[in-house]
Symmetry: C2
Subunit: 138 residues, 2 copies
């Protein structure tokens, strides 16, 4: 199986497969006599694993650990769970940040006329930092 087939079968682009190999996330692929990379079912499984982990937002470093645990028959599920818990925390922290931004922006936006005139609480807030920061109408 060539890299292109492996890519479309796993959902990881050929580019990224080569990249993952170059950073040591996956083992070096076998090669044909002419230098083409070859992939087997086991490699495909690993690539699919990586793609699913990326879809869940895990970083490459975390995936490295997850792969090691996956391939370790004597793993403790507690180790996996700890990685997941850490990741959940990271994600929720980001969500809170975004949530705060959205709340502030919605508040400012609600008070912006959105017409032809220049007056705008959004700009005022950016300019001075003091323009109506608190709750006024909840």
């Amino acid at each position: 199986m060539n890299i292109g087939e492996a890519a479309s079968a796993s959902g990881v682009t050929a580019k990224m497969i080569r990249h993952y190999e170059s950073i040591g996330l996956i083992a070096e692929a076998g090669r044909t006599g002419s230098g083409y990379r070859t992939y087997g079912p086991k490699d495909l499984a690993t690539l699919s694993f990586i793609r699913r982990a990326r879809d869940l937002g895990f970083s490459i470093a975390q995936i490295r650990d997850l792969l090691a645990l996956w391939q370790d028959r004597d793993r403790a599920s507690a180790d996996v769970k700890r990685i997941a818990a850490g990741h959940i925390e990271e994600l929720t922290a980001k969500m809170r940040q975004l949530q705060e931004m959205v709340m502030t922006l919605q508040h400012l936006s609600a008070h912006c006329q959105g017409n032809d005139r220049p007056d705008c609480p959004i700009l005022e807030r950016l300019a001075s930092g003091t323009g109506d920061g608190g709750a006024c109408c909840d």
Copy 2:
């Protein structure tokens, strides 16, 4: 005012001030005879504006537009509001993505024993993509 003072006064690092200048986000700063950048109150206000906008998650491109509107006395607040609305949409889209990841992870994690044994629904899900994807216990 040197770049260091401008940095601590505005909350934008000296590094970033130089960067913003290099990409044309801010005007080139004045220079002393020996080449040191100098900043006045107006520059400080601009830097603070940028920092607040960054804190609200605006991209450099969006900030470029916001700065232009800010400096345009004939602006229409509708233009500002449109930028903000677009940004709010981006942020909420990201939040939804994160939310989905968190939900999935929490679900999988809840079913992981987290003990010394290797069995783990999190790994199973990453490995096969079929390991209990639906709601089972809500």
